[in-house]
Protein backbone atom coordinates (compact mmCIF):
# COMPACT_ATOMS: atom_id res chain seq x y z
CA UNK A 1 0.00 0.00 0.00
CA UNK A 2 1.32 3.44 -0.79
CA UNK A 3 2.02 5.74 2.13
CA UNK A 4 0.18 8.63 0.59
CA UNK A 5 -2.45 8.84 -2.14
CA UNK A 6 -3.54 12.09 -3.67
CA UNK A 7 -6.57 11.70 -5.91
CA UNK A 8 -7.71 14.56 -8.10
CA UNK A 9 -7.05 17.04 -5.28
CA UNK A 10 -8.44 20.55 -5.61
CA UNK A 11 -8.32 23.26 -2.99
CA UNK A 12 -10.29 26.46 -3.43
CA UNK A 13 -10.31 29.55 -1.30
CA UNK A 14 -13.25 31.68 -2.34
CA UNK A 15 -13.22 31.73 -6.13
CA UNK A 16 -9.48 31.11 -6.32
CA UNK A 17 -8.23 27.63 -7.12
CA UNK A 18 -4.99 27.04 -5.26
CA UNK A 19 -4.73 23.41 -6.36
CA UNK A 20 -6.46 21.96 -9.37
CA UNK A 21 -6.87 18.24 -9.99
CA UNK A 22 -3.53 17.07 -8.60
CA UNK A 23 -3.03 13.29 -8.45
CA UNK A 24 -0.02 11.23 -7.41
CA UNK A 25 0.88 8.59 -4.90
CA UNK A 26 3.99 8.10 -2.84
CA UNK A 27 5.40 4.78 -1.69
CA UNK A 28 6.68 4.09 1.79
CA UNK A 29 10.35 5.06 2.02
CA UNK A 30 10.32 7.28 -1.05
CA UNK A 31 11.91 10.74 -0.96
CA UNK A 32 9.91 13.28 -2.94
CA UNK A 33 10.79 16.91 -3.53
CA UNK A 34 8.05 19.33 -4.53
CA UNK A 35 9.29 22.25 -6.61
CA UNK A 36 7.61 25.09 -8.43
CA UNK A 37 7.55 28.89 -8.64
CA UNK A 38 6.02 31.14 -5.95
CA UNK A 39 2.27 30.75 -5.76
CA UNK A 40 2.28 27.38 -7.52
CA UNK A 41 0.44 25.77 -4.62
CA UNK A 42 3.32 23.97 -2.92
CA UNK A 43 2.52 25.04 0.62
CA UNK A 44 -1.19 24.48 0.03
CA UNK A 45 -0.37 20.95 -1.11
CA UNK A 46 1.64 20.33 2.05
CA UNK A 47 -1.16 21.71 4.21
CA UNK A 48 -3.63 19.39 2.50
CA UNK A 49 -1.30 16.40 2.89
CA UNK A 50 -0.73 17.13 6.58
CA UNK A 51 -4.47 17.39 7.27
CA UNK A 52 -4.39 21.07 8.15
CA UNK A 53 -6.86 21.90 5.39
CA UNK A 54 -9.49 19.64 3.86
CA UNK A 55 -9.71 19.17 0.07
CA UNK A 56 -12.42 21.10 -1.74
CA UNK A 57 -12.63 18.22 -4.18
CA UNK A 58 -10.80 14.94 -4.51
CA UNK A 59 -9.09 13.17 -1.67
CA UNK A 60 -5.89 12.79 0.29
CA UNK A 61 -5.36 9.35 1.78
CA UNK A 62 -2.75 8.92 4.45
CA UNK A 63 -2.33 5.27 5.38
CA UNK A 64 -5.58 4.59 3.54
CA UNK A 65 -7.66 7.20 5.41
CA UNK A 66 -8.31 10.89 5.03
CA UNK A 67 -6.13 12.86 7.49
CA UNK A 68 -9.30 14.35 8.98
CA UNK A 69 -10.51 10.83 9.81
CA UNK A 70 -7.61 10.35 12.24
CA UNK A 71 -7.67 12.04 15.62
CA UNK A 72 -4.96 14.72 15.81
CA UNK A 73 -2.99 12.51 18.17
CA UNK A 74 -3.17 9.45 15.92
CA UNK A 75 -2.31 11.56 12.92
CA UNK A 76 0.73 12.95 14.72
CA UNK A 77 2.05 9.41 15.14
CA UNK A 78 1.87 8.90 11.36
CA UNK A 79 3.24 12.11 9.96
CA UNK A 80 5.46 14.90 11.27
CA UNK A 81 5.58 18.38 9.76
CA UNK A 82 8.33 20.98 9.82
CA UNK A 83 6.95 24.43 8.99
CA UNK A 84 8.80 27.62 8.22
CA UNK A 85 9.24 30.65 10.44
CA UNK A 86 8.20 29.38 13.83
CA UNK A 87 8.57 31.98 16.57
CA UNK A 88 8.55 30.94 20.19
CA UNK A 89 7.40 33.77 22.47
CA UNK A 90 8.23 32.16 25.78
CA UNK A 91 11.67 31.25 27.11
CA UNK A 92 11.60 27.50 26.47
CA UNK A 93 14.95 25.73 26.41
CA UNK A 94 16.17 23.85 23.37
CA UNK A 95 15.64 20.51 25.11
CA UNK A 96 12.07 21.43 26.09
CA UNK A 97 11.26 22.33 22.49
CA UNK A 98 12.80 19.14 21.13
CA UNK A 99 10.83 17.06 23.62
CA UNK A 100 7.60 18.67 22.47
CA UNK A 101 7.89 16.36 19.49
CA UNK A 102 6.44 13.68 21.74
CA UNK A 103 3.18 15.65 21.76
CA UNK A 104 0.91 15.50 24.78
CA UNK A 105 1.60 11.90 25.67
CA UNK A 106 2.49 11.40 29.31
CA UNK A 107 5.57 9.32 28.61
CA UNK A 108 7.87 12.05 27.38
CA UNK A 109 10.47 11.37 24.76
CA UNK A 110 13.37 9.67 26.43
CA UNK A 111 16.49 11.70 26.97
CA UNK A 112 18.37 9.42 24.60
CA UNK A 113 15.98 10.10 21.71
CA UNK A 114 16.08 13.85 22.28
CA UNK A 115 19.86 13.88 22.62
CA UNK A 116 20.27 11.83 19.46
CA UNK A 117 18.02 14.21 17.54
CA UNK A 118 20.00 17.20 18.80
CA UNK A 119 23.26 15.54 17.82
CA UNK A 120 21.83 14.77 14.38
CA UNK A 121 21.25 18.48 13.76
CA UNK A 122 24.66 19.42 15.11
CA UNK A 123 23.34 21.04 18.26
CA UNK A 124 24.63 18.66 20.92
CA UNK A 125 25.42 20.73 24.01
CA UNK A 126 22.69 23.27 23.30
CA UNK A 127 19.97 21.72 25.49
CA UNK A 128 19.85 24.39 28.16
CA UNK A 129 19.99 27.35 25.81
CA UNK A 130 16.85 29.48 25.55
CA UNK A 131 15.58 29.05 22.01
CA UNK A 132 15.05 32.76 21.45
CA UNK A 133 18.77 33.40 21.88
CA UNK A 134 19.71 31.15 18.96
CA UNK A 135 20.23 32.31 15.38
CA UNK A 136 17.49 31.72 12.80
CA UNK A 137 19.29 28.77 11.28
CA UNK A 138 19.97 27.21 14.67
CA UNK A 139 16.32 27.61 15.64
CA UNK A 140 15.31 25.90 12.41
CA UNK A 141 17.59 22.99 13.28
CA UNK A 142 16.07 22.76 16.78
CA UNK A 143 12.65 22.43 15.18
CA UNK A 144 14.00 19.81 12.81
CA UNK A 145 15.25 17.87 15.85
CA UNK A 146 11.77 18.20 17.40
CA UNK A 147 10.22 16.74 14.27
CA UNK A 148 12.75 13.89 14.36
CA UNK A 149 11.60 13.10 17.91
CA UNK A 150 8.00 13.07 16.71
CA UNK A 151 8.95 10.66 13.93
CA UNK A 152 10.77 8.44 16.41
CA UNK A 153 7.70 8.32 18.68
CA UNK A 154 5.49 7.46 15.71
CA UNK A 155 7.90 4.83 14.50
CA UNK A 156 7.78 3.19 17.92
CA UNK A 157 3.99 3.06 17.75
CA UNK A 158 3.21 2.30 14.12
CA UNK A 159 6.46 1.84 12.22
CA UNK A 160 8.05 4.41 9.89
CA UNK A 161 5.84 7.42 9.13
CA UNK A 162 5.86 10.39 6.79
CA UNK A 163 8.14 13.40 7.17
CA UNK A 164 6.80 16.59 5.59
CA UNK A 165 9.18 19.52 5.23
CA UNK A 166 8.31 23.04 4.12
CA UNK A 167 11.49 24.60 2.77
CA UNK A 168 13.62 23.04 5.47
CA UNK A 169 16.84 24.59 4.21
CA UNK A 170 15.64 28.17 3.80
CA UNK A 171 17.68 29.65 6.66
CA UNK A 172 20.53 27.14 6.74
CA UNK A 173 24.11 27.66 5.63
CA UNK A 174 25.56 25.43 2.90
CA UNK A 175 27.00 22.88 5.21
CA UNK A 176 23.85 22.45 7.25
CA UNK A 177 21.76 22.28 4.08
CA UNK A 178 23.76 19.27 3.00
CA UNK A 179 23.62 17.84 6.51
CA UNK A 180 19.83 18.13 6.49
CA UNK A 181 19.66 16.38 3.14
CA UNK A 182 21.82 13.61 4.60
CA UNK A 183 19.57 13.22 7.66
CA UNK A 184 16.45 13.14 5.46
CA UNK A 185 18.04 10.45 3.31
CA UNK A 186 18.93 8.44 6.41
CA UNK A 187 15.30 8.64 7.52
CA UNK A 188 14.22 7.41 4.11
CA UNK A 189 16.72 4.57 4.28
CA UNK A 190 15.01 3.41 7.47
CA UNK A 191 11.64 3.42 5.71
CA UNK A 192 10.33 6.93 6.44
CA UNK A 193 8.58 8.62 3.55
CA UNK A 194 9.93 12.12 2.97
CA UNK A 195 8.07 14.91 1.18
CA UNK A 196 9.87 18.23 1.03
CA UNK A 197 9.11 21.55 -0.58
CA UNK A 198 12.46 22.71 -1.88
CA UNK A 199 13.24 25.99 -3.62
CA UNK A 200 16.75 25.16 -4.68
CA UNK A 201 16.42 22.86 -7.71
CA UNK A 202 19.95 21.54 -7.28
CA UNK A 203 19.30 20.60 -3.68
CA UNK A 204 16.01 18.99 -4.73
CA UNK A 205 17.84 16.89 -7.33
CA UNK A 206 20.41 15.89 -4.74
CA UNK A 207 17.88 15.01 -2.10
CA UNK A 208 15.01 13.27 -3.83
CA UNK A 209 14.34 10.03 -5.66
CA UNK A 210 11.49 11.75 -7.33
CA UNK A 211 10.47 15.29 -8.09
CA UNK A 212 6.96 16.68 -8.38
CA UNK A 213 6.76 19.97 -10.24
CA UNK A 214 3.79 22.22 -9.56
CA UNK A 215 2.83 25.16 -11.75
CA UNK A 216 -0.32 27.22 -11.33
CA UNK A 217 -1.83 24.71 -8.96
CA UNK A 218 -1.49 21.84 -11.41
CA UNK A 219 0.90 18.96 -11.65
CA UNK A 220 3.43 20.06 -14.29
CA UNK A 221 5.80 17.11 -14.11
CA UNK A 222 6.39 14.05 -11.95
CA UNK A 223 9.40 11.75 -12.23
CA UNK A 224 13.04 11.16 -11.38
CA UNK A 225 15.30 14.22 -11.10
CA UNK A 226 16.71 13.67 -14.59
CA UNK A 227 13.23 13.29 -16.05
CA UNK A 228 11.85 16.43 -14.41
CA UNK A 229 14.74 18.85 -14.18
CA UNK A 230 15.57 19.78 -17.76
CA UNK A 231 15.61 22.86 -19.98
CA UNK A 232 12.01 22.31 -21.01
CA UNK A 233 10.50 22.16 -17.50
CA UNK A 234 12.61 24.96 -16.10
CA UNK A 235 11.69 27.20 -18.99
CA UNK A 236 8.02 26.20 -19.07
CA UNK A 237 7.30 26.29 -15.32
CA UNK A 238 9.77 28.84 -13.95
CA UNK A 239 10.12 31.06 -17.03
CA UNK A 240 13.89 30.94 -16.89
CA UNK A 241 16.46 29.99 -19.53
CA UNK A 242 19.04 27.73 -18.02
CA UNK A 243 21.85 25.37 -18.68
CA UNK A 244 21.20 21.94 -17.21
CA UNK A 245 24.12 19.59 -16.70
CA UNK A 246 25.03 16.57 -14.64
CA UNK A 247 27.01 16.64 -11.45
CA UNK A 248 29.98 14.29 -11.77
CA UNK A 249 29.00 12.82 -8.38
CA UNK A 250 26.37 11.50 -7.64
CA UNK A 251 25.15 12.03 -11.18
CA UNK A 252 22.19 14.26 -10.32
CA UNK A 253 21.20 17.05 -12.71
CA UNK A 254 22.08 20.64 -11.87
CA UNK A 255 20.59 23.86 -13.15
CA UNK A 256 22.39 27.09 -13.92
CA UNK A 257 19.75 29.75 -14.59
CA UNK A 258 20.94 32.65 -16.72
CA UNK A 259 18.02 34.63 -18.09
CA UNK A 260 14.39 35.28 -17.22
CA UNK A 261 11.96 34.66 -20.06
CA UNK A 262 8.35 35.47 -20.58
CA UNK A 263 6.34 32.80 -18.84
CA UNK A 264 4.29 30.69 -21.22
CA UNK A 265 0.85 30.04 -19.85
Amino acid sequence: MSALDVQDLSVRVGAKRLLDGVSFSVDQGETVAVIGPNGAGKSTLLRALSGEIAPSEGAVLLGGRAPQAWSPRELALRRAVLSQNITVTFPFTVLEIVRMGAGDRRGKASDAVAEAALAAVDLAGFHDRIIGTLSGGEQQRVHFARVMVQLACGEEAHGPGILMLDEPTASLDLRHQLDLVAVARQCAARGTTVIAIVHDLNLAALMADRIIVLGNGRLAADGTPSQTINDGTVSRVFGVSSAVGLMPQPGAPFVLPHRAERLRA
Binding site: A76, I86, I97, D122, A124, G125, D128, R175, H176, L180
Partner: protein
Protein backbone atom coordinates in the same frame (compact mmCIF):
# COMPACT_ATOMS: atom_id res chain seq x y z
CA UNK B 1 24.61 16.89 10.46
CA UNK B 2 25.40 13.34 11.30
CA UNK B 3 29.16 13.62 11.44
CA UNK B 4 29.47 17.31 11.98
CA UNK B 5 29.38 17.51 15.74
CA UNK B 6 32.91 18.82 15.99
CA UNK B 7 32.26 21.81 13.80
CA UNK B 8 29.18 22.86 15.78
CA UNK B 9 29.46 26.12 17.68
CA UNK B 10 30.03 25.60 21.37
CA UNK B 11 27.12 26.69 23.55
CA UNK B 12 27.72 30.29 24.37
CA UNK B 13 27.25 31.29 27.96
CA UNK B 14 24.92 34.13 27.00
CA UNK B 15 21.31 33.09 26.97
CA UNK B 16 21.90 30.35 29.48
CA UNK B 17 19.25 30.92 32.07
CA UNK B 18 19.74 29.14 35.34
CA UNK B 19 16.48 27.55 36.34
CA UNK B 20 17.66 27.53 39.88
CA UNK B 21 16.94 25.21 42.73
CA UNK B 22 13.45 26.69 42.86
CA UNK B 23 12.44 24.95 39.67
CA UNK B 24 13.03 21.55 41.24
CA UNK B 25 10.96 19.64 43.78
CA UNK B 26 11.36 22.47 46.30
CA UNK B 27 9.20 24.86 44.30
CA UNK B 28 5.81 24.02 45.78
CA UNK B 29 7.00 23.50 49.39
CA UNK B 30 8.69 26.93 49.26
CA UNK B 31 5.67 28.69 47.74
CA UNK B 32 3.28 27.07 50.19
CA UNK B 33 5.50 27.99 53.16
CA UNK B 34 5.55 31.60 52.05
CA UNK B 35 1.78 31.51 51.70
CA UNK B 36 1.46 30.11 55.21
CA UNK B 37 3.64 32.91 56.61
CA UNK B 38 1.55 35.54 54.86
CA UNK B 39 -1.65 33.90 56.12
CA UNK B 40 -0.39 34.01 59.71
CA UNK B 41 0.63 37.65 59.32
CA UNK B 42 -2.77 38.45 57.81
CA UNK B 43 -4.49 36.79 60.77
CA UNK B 44 -2.51 38.84 63.24
CA UNK B 45 -2.75 42.35 61.84
CA UNK B 46 -5.80 44.54 61.39
CA UNK B 47 -8.16 46.93 63.12
CA UNK B 48 -8.49 44.51 66.02
CA UNK B 49 -4.96 43.24 66.40
CA UNK B 50 -4.51 39.68 67.60
CA UNK B 51 -1.02 39.02 68.94
CA UNK B 52 0.65 36.03 67.33
CA UNK B 53 0.72 34.03 70.58
CA UNK B 54 -3.09 34.23 70.88
CA UNK B 55 -3.75 32.91 67.37
CA UNK B 56 -3.41 29.16 68.15
CA UNK B 57 -5.80 29.55 71.03
CA UNK B 58 -8.31 31.50 68.94
CA UNK B 59 -8.23 28.75 66.36
CA UNK B 60 -8.86 26.19 69.09
CA UNK B 61 -5.46 24.57 68.88
CA UNK B 62 -4.22 25.54 72.31
CA UNK B 63 -5.23 26.14 75.89
CA UNK B 64 -8.69 27.75 75.72
CA UNK B 65 -8.07 29.71 78.89
CA UNK B 66 -5.95 32.20 77.01
CA UNK B 67 -8.57 32.51 74.34
CA UNK B 68 -10.86 35.46 74.27
CA UNK B 69 -14.25 35.30 72.64
CA UNK B 70 -13.45 38.46 70.72
CA UNK B 71 -10.35 36.95 69.08
CA UNK B 72 -12.35 33.93 68.04
CA UNK B 73 -15.12 35.98 66.53
CA UNK B 74 -12.78 38.30 64.64
CA UNK B 75 -10.74 35.44 63.27
CA UNK B 76 -13.41 32.96 62.31
CA UNK B 77 -16.11 35.19 60.93
CA UNK B 78 -14.20 38.20 59.62
CA UNK B 79 -10.54 37.65 59.03
CA UNK B 80 -10.35 34.03 57.90
CA UNK B 81 -13.08 34.27 55.25
CA UNK B 82 -11.40 37.38 53.95
CA UNK B 83 -8.06 35.59 53.83
CA UNK B 84 -9.68 32.70 51.99
CA UNK B 85 -11.28 35.05 49.47
CA UNK B 86 -7.97 36.88 48.89
CA UNK B 87 -6.23 33.55 48.30
CA UNK B 88 -8.90 32.35 45.88
CA UNK B 89 -9.11 35.56 43.90
CA UNK B 90 -5.34 36.06 43.76
CA UNK B 91 -4.95 32.48 42.56
CA UNK B 92 -7.62 32.91 39.91
CA UNK B 93 -6.35 36.26 38.64
CA UNK B 94 -2.81 34.93 38.26
CA UNK B 95 -3.71 31.62 36.68
CA UNK B 96 -6.27 33.10 34.29
CA UNK B 97 -3.52 35.51 33.22
CA UNK B 98 -1.14 32.60 32.67
CA UNK B 99 -3.70 30.64 30.65
CA UNK B 100 -4.56 33.69 28.57
CA UNK B 101 -0.89 34.39 27.83
CA UNK B 102 -0.45 30.80 26.69
CA UNK B 103 -3.60 30.85 24.60
CA UNK B 104 -2.65 34.05 22.80
CA UNK B 105 1.10 33.34 22.83
CA UNK B 106 1.53 36.76 24.29
CA UNK B 107 3.23 37.54 27.61
CA UNK B 108 1.37 40.85 27.81
CA UNK B 109 -2.11 39.35 27.90
CA UNK B 110 -4.11 39.88 31.06
CA UNK B 111 -7.88 39.60 31.45
CA UNK B 112 -8.06 42.97 33.19
CA UNK B 113 -5.91 44.69 30.59
CA UNK B 114 -7.69 43.48 27.46
CA UNK B 115 -11.22 44.12 28.56
CA UNK B 116 -12.30 40.65 29.68
CA UNK B 117 -12.69 41.87 33.25
CA UNK B 118 -14.49 44.98 32.02
CA UNK B 119 -16.87 42.81 30.00
CA UNK B 120 -17.58 40.81 33.13
CA UNK B 121 -17.96 44.01 35.12
CA UNK B 122 -20.43 45.44 32.60
CA UNK B 123 -22.56 42.30 32.79
CA UNK B 124 -22.38 42.31 36.59
CA UNK B 125 -23.33 45.98 36.79
CA UNK B 126 -26.22 45.36 34.40
CA UNK B 127 -27.40 42.54 36.62
CA UNK B 128 -27.34 44.88 39.63
CA UNK B 129 -29.45 47.49 37.85
CA UNK B 130 -31.85 45.06 36.20
CA UNK B 131 -32.10 42.89 39.31
CA UNK B 132 -32.82 45.96 41.36
CA UNK B 133 -35.67 46.94 39.07
CA UNK B 134 -37.09 43.42 39.04
CA UNK B 135 -37.06 42.90 42.78
CA UNK B 136 -38.84 46.20 43.12
CA UNK B 137 -36.34 47.59 45.62
CA UNK B 138 -37.49 45.24 48.32
CA UNK B 139 -35.43 42.10 48.66
CA UNK B 140 -31.64 42.19 48.81
CA UNK B 141 -30.03 40.95 45.61
CA UNK B 142 -28.90 37.35 45.67
CA UNK B 143 -25.12 37.28 45.61
CA UNK B 144 -24.98 34.30 43.24
CA UNK B 145 -26.39 36.48 40.48
CA UNK B 146 -23.20 38.55 40.23
CA UNK B 147 -20.75 35.73 39.44
CA UNK B 148 -23.08 34.21 36.87
CA UNK B 149 -23.51 37.54 35.09
CA UNK B 150 -19.79 38.30 35.34
CA UNK B 151 -18.93 34.87 33.97
CA UNK B 152 -21.27 35.36 31.00
CA UNK B 153 -19.84 38.82 30.33
CA UNK B 154 -16.26 37.56 30.49
CA UNK B 155 -17.03 34.60 28.25
CA UNK B 156 -18.61 36.75 25.57
CA UNK B 157 -15.75 39.26 25.75
CA UNK B 158 -13.05 36.58 25.47
CA UNK B 159 -14.79 34.98 22.51
CA UNK B 160 -15.13 38.34 20.73
CA UNK B 161 -11.50 39.15 21.42
CA UNK B 162 -10.40 35.82 20.04
CA UNK B 163 -12.44 36.36 16.90
CA UNK B 164 -11.05 39.84 16.39
CA UNK B 165 -7.40 39.01 16.96
CA UNK B 166 -7.20 35.68 15.13
CA UNK B 167 -6.95 35.39 11.41
CA UNK B 168 -6.65 31.89 10.12
CA UNK B 169 -4.27 30.23 12.48
CA UNK B 170 -2.32 33.25 13.59
CA UNK B 171 -3.03 35.77 16.30
CA UNK B 172 -1.82 39.31 15.92
CA UNK B 173 -0.33 40.68 19.12
CA UNK B 174 -0.96 44.28 18.14
CA UNK B 175 -4.58 43.71 17.08
CA UNK B 176 -5.12 41.72 20.24
CA UNK B 177 -3.96 44.51 22.56
CA UNK B 178 -5.70 47.25 20.61
CA UNK B 179 -8.96 45.33 20.33
CA UNK B 180 -8.75 44.65 24.05
CA UNK B 181 -8.31 48.36 24.65
CA UNK B 182 -11.38 49.15 22.55
CA UNK B 183 -13.45 46.51 24.32
CA UNK B 184 -12.37 47.81 27.72
CA UNK B 185 -13.32 51.35 26.66
CA UNK B 186 -16.68 50.18 25.34
CA UNK B 187 -17.44 48.25 28.52
CA UNK B 188 -16.35 51.26 30.56
CA UNK B 189 -18.79 53.44 28.62
CA UNK B 190 -21.50 50.86 29.22
CA UNK B 191 -20.85 50.91 32.95
CA UNK B 192 -20.91 54.72 32.86
CA UNK B 193 -24.29 54.57 31.16
CA UNK B 194 -25.59 52.20 33.80
CA UNK B 195 -24.38 54.49 36.57
CA UNK B 196 -26.18 57.32 34.78
CA UNK B 197 -29.53 55.55 34.64
CA UNK B 198 -29.27 53.72 37.98
CA UNK B 199 -31.38 54.81 40.91
CA UNK B 200 -29.76 55.60 44.24
CA UNK B 201 -29.85 52.11 45.62
CA UNK B 202 -28.41 50.43 42.53
CA UNK B 203 -25.86 53.22 42.23
CA UNK B 204 -24.64 52.55 45.75
CA UNK B 205 -24.38 48.83 45.02
CA UNK B 206 -22.44 49.40 41.79
CA UNK B 207 -20.05 51.93 43.30
CA UNK B 208 -19.43 49.80 46.35
CA UNK B 209 -18.72 46.77 44.26
CA UNK B 210 -16.56 48.55 41.69
CA UNK B 211 -14.19 49.81 44.35
CA UNK B 212 -13.19 46.21 44.60
CA UNK B 213 -12.82 45.64 48.29
CA UNK B 214 -12.41 42.18 49.72
CA UNK B 215 -14.28 43.34 52.83
CA UNK B 216 -17.59 41.66 53.50
CA UNK B 217 -16.21 38.22 52.84
CA UNK B 218 -18.27 35.36 54.18
CA UNK B 219 -17.80 31.61 54.16
CA UNK B 220 -20.82 31.38 51.85
CA UNK B 221 -19.05 33.50 49.27
CA UNK B 222 -15.89 31.47 49.70
CA UNK B 223 -17.77 28.29 48.92
CA UNK B 224 -19.35 29.94 45.90
CA UNK B 225 -16.01 30.97 44.37
CA UNK B 226 -13.82 28.00 45.31
CA UNK B 227 -15.19 25.60 42.64
CA UNK B 228 -13.92 27.88 39.85
CA UNK B 229 -10.35 27.59 41.09
CA UNK B 230 -10.69 23.85 41.69
CA UNK B 231 -11.93 23.42 38.11
CA UNK B 232 -8.81 25.15 36.81
CA UNK B 233 -6.47 23.08 38.96
CA UNK B 234 -8.24 19.90 37.87
CA UNK B 235 -7.82 20.93 34.22
CA UNK B 236 -4.06 21.55 34.46
CA UNK B 237 -3.00 17.97 33.58
CA UNK B 238 -5.22 18.11 30.50
CA UNK B 239 -4.43 21.55 29.14
CA UNK B 240 -0.90 22.18 30.42
CA UNK B 241 0.96 20.28 27.72
CA UNK B 242 -1.36 21.55 25.01
CA UNK B 243 -0.72 25.16 26.04
CA UNK B 244 3.03 24.47 25.86
CA UNK B 245 2.74 23.16 22.32
CA UNK B 246 0.42 26.01 21.36
CA UNK B 247 3.32 28.39 21.99
CA UNK B 248 4.85 27.20 18.71
CA UNK B 249 1.68 28.16 16.83
CA UNK B 250 -1.71 26.62 16.20
CA UNK B 251 -0.56 24.73 13.12
CA UNK B 252 2.44 23.27 14.92
CA UNK B 253 0.32 22.25 17.91
CA UNK B 254 -2.04 20.49 15.53
CA UNK B 255 0.86 18.83 13.75
CA UNK B 256 2.10 17.51 17.07
CA UNK B 257 -1.25 15.96 17.86
CA UNK B 258 -3.20 18.57 19.84
CA UNK B 259 -6.94 19.00 19.24
CA UNK B 260 -6.43 22.74 19.01
CA UNK B 261 -10.04 23.92 18.78
CA UNK B 262 -11.06 21.92 21.84
CA UNK B 263 -8.06 23.18 23.79
CA UNK B 264 -8.95 26.77 22.91
CA UNK B 265 -12.55 26.30 23.99
CA UNK B 266 -11.55 24.83 27.36
CA UNK B 267 -9.00 27.61 27.91
CA UNK B 268 -11.51 30.33 27.07
CA UNK B 269 -14.14 28.91 29.42
CA UNK B 270 -11.57 28.65 32.23
CA UNK B 271 -10.36 32.22 31.69
CA UNK B 272 -13.92 33.51 31.63
CA UNK B 273 -15.00 31.50 34.68
CA UNK B 274 -12.09 32.59 36.84
CA UNK B 275 -12.11 36.19 35.67
CA UNK B 276 -15.86 36.35 36.12
CA UNK B 277 -15.67 34.97 39.66
CA UNK B 278 -12.88 37.36 40.56
CA UNK B 279 -14.68 40.36 39.05
CA UNK B 280 -17.96 39.48 40.73
CA UNK B 281 -16.36 39.69 44.11
CA UNK B 282 -13.43 42.07 43.85
CA UNK B 283 -14.22 44.29 40.86
CA UNK B 284 -11.55 44.85 38.25
CA UNK B 285 -8.17 44.00 39.78
CA UNK B 286 -5.42 44.38 37.23
CA UNK B 287 -1.83 43.31 36.76
CA UNK B 288 -1.73 40.30 39.09
CA UNK B 289 -2.30 38.22 35.96
CA UNK B 290 0.73 39.72 34.22
CA UNK B 291 3.20 40.12 37.04
CA UNK B 292 2.88 36.69 38.62
CA UNK B 293 3.31 34.41 35.57
CA UNK B 294 6.11 36.60 34.26
CA UNK B 295 8.12 36.39 37.48
CA UNK B 296 7.59 32.66 37.64
CA UNK B 297 8.68 32.08 34.03
CA UNK B 298 12.00 33.71 34.87
CA UNK B 299 12.57 31.22 37.68
CA UNK B 300 10.86 27.96 36.71
CA UNK B 301 10.54 28.34 32.94
CA UNK B 302 7.39 28.60 30.82
CA UNK B 303 6.08 25.01 31.02
CA UNK B 304 2.38 25.33 31.91
CA UNK B 305 2.05 22.17 33.99
CA UNK B 306 4.18 23.84 36.65
CA UNK B 307 3.42 27.43 35.76
CA UNK B 308 -0.36 27.23 36.31
CA UNK B 309 -0.38 25.79 39.85
CA UNK B 310 2.66 27.90 40.81
CA UNK B 311 0.92 31.03 39.47
CA UNK B 312 -2.11 30.17 41.57
CA UNK B 313 -0.03 30.02 44.76
CA UNK B 314 2.10 33.10 44.05
CA UNK B 315 -1.03 35.02 42.98
CA UNK B 316 -2.62 34.05 46.29
CA UNK B 317 0.46 35.22 48.19
CA UNK B 318 0.59 38.57 46.40
CA UNK B 319 -3.10 39.38 46.62
CA UNK B 320 -3.30 38.36 50.27
CA UNK B 321 -0.27 40.54 51.03
CA UNK B 322 -1.79 43.40 49.03
CA UNK B 323 -5.15 43.05 50.78
CA UNK B 324 -3.51 42.94 54.19
CA UNK B 325 -1.62 46.11 53.28
CA UNK B 326 -4.80 47.66 51.87
CA UNK B 327 -6.65 47.25 55.13
CA UNK B 328 -3.78 48.32 57.41
CA UNK B 329 -1.80 51.17 55.81
CA UNK B 330 -4.66 53.67 56.13
CA UNK B 331 -6.58 51.93 58.95
CA UNK B 332 -9.36 52.23 59.84
CA UNK B 333 -10.02 53.23 56.20
CA UNK B 334 -9.26 50.76 53.40
CA UNK B 335 -7.33 51.48 50.22
CA UNK B 336 -9.17 49.88 47.27
CA UNK B 337 -7.22 46.76 46.34
CA UNK B 338 -7.39 47.46 42.59
CA UNK B 339 -5.63 50.78 43.23
CA UNK B 340 -2.86 49.04 45.13
CA UNK B 341 -2.23 46.33 42.52
CA UNK B 342 -2.22 48.92 39.74
CA UNK B 343 0.29 51.08 41.62
CA UNK B 344 2.71 48.18 41.71
CA UNK B 345 1.71 46.42 38.51
CA UNK B 346 1.53 49.27 36.01
CA UNK B 347 5.21 50.27 36.25
CA UNK B 348 6.10 46.59 36.05
CA UNK B 349 4.01 46.26 32.90
CA UNK B 350 5.77 49.24 31.33
CA UNK B 351 9.16 47.70 31.99
CA UNK B 352 7.95 44.45 30.47
CA UNK B 353 6.58 46.26 27.42
CA UNK B 354 9.90 47.99 26.81
CA UNK B 355 11.78 44.73 27.07
CA UNK B 356 9.39 43.02 24.65
CA UNK B 357 9.59 45.80 22.09
CA UNK B 358 11.61 43.65 19.73
CA UNK B 359 8.77 41.15 19.41
CA UNK B 360 6.80 41.08 16.17
CA UNK B 361 3.89 43.43 16.04
CA UNK B 362 4.87 45.73 18.86
Amino acid sequence: MSDAVVSGPIARSTGLQPRALLAGPLLFPILLSVLLIVVIAAMAVGGAGIPLERIPAALGFADPVAMTERDRLVLLSVRLPRIAIAILIGAMLASSGAIMQGLFRNPLADPALVGVSSGGALAAASSIVIGDRMTGHTAPLPFAMLPIAAFGGSLVTTAILQRLASRGRTTSIAVFLLAGLAIAALAGAGIGLLVFIADDRALRDITFWMLGSLGGATWEKVSLIAPFLLAMLAAVPFIGRGLDLLVLGESEAFHMGIAVERLKRVAIVLIAAMTGAAVAFAGVVGFVGIVVPHLLRLVIGPGHRKLLPASAILGAILLLAADTAARTIAAPAEVPIGVLTALVGAPFFLVLLLRQRGLAGL
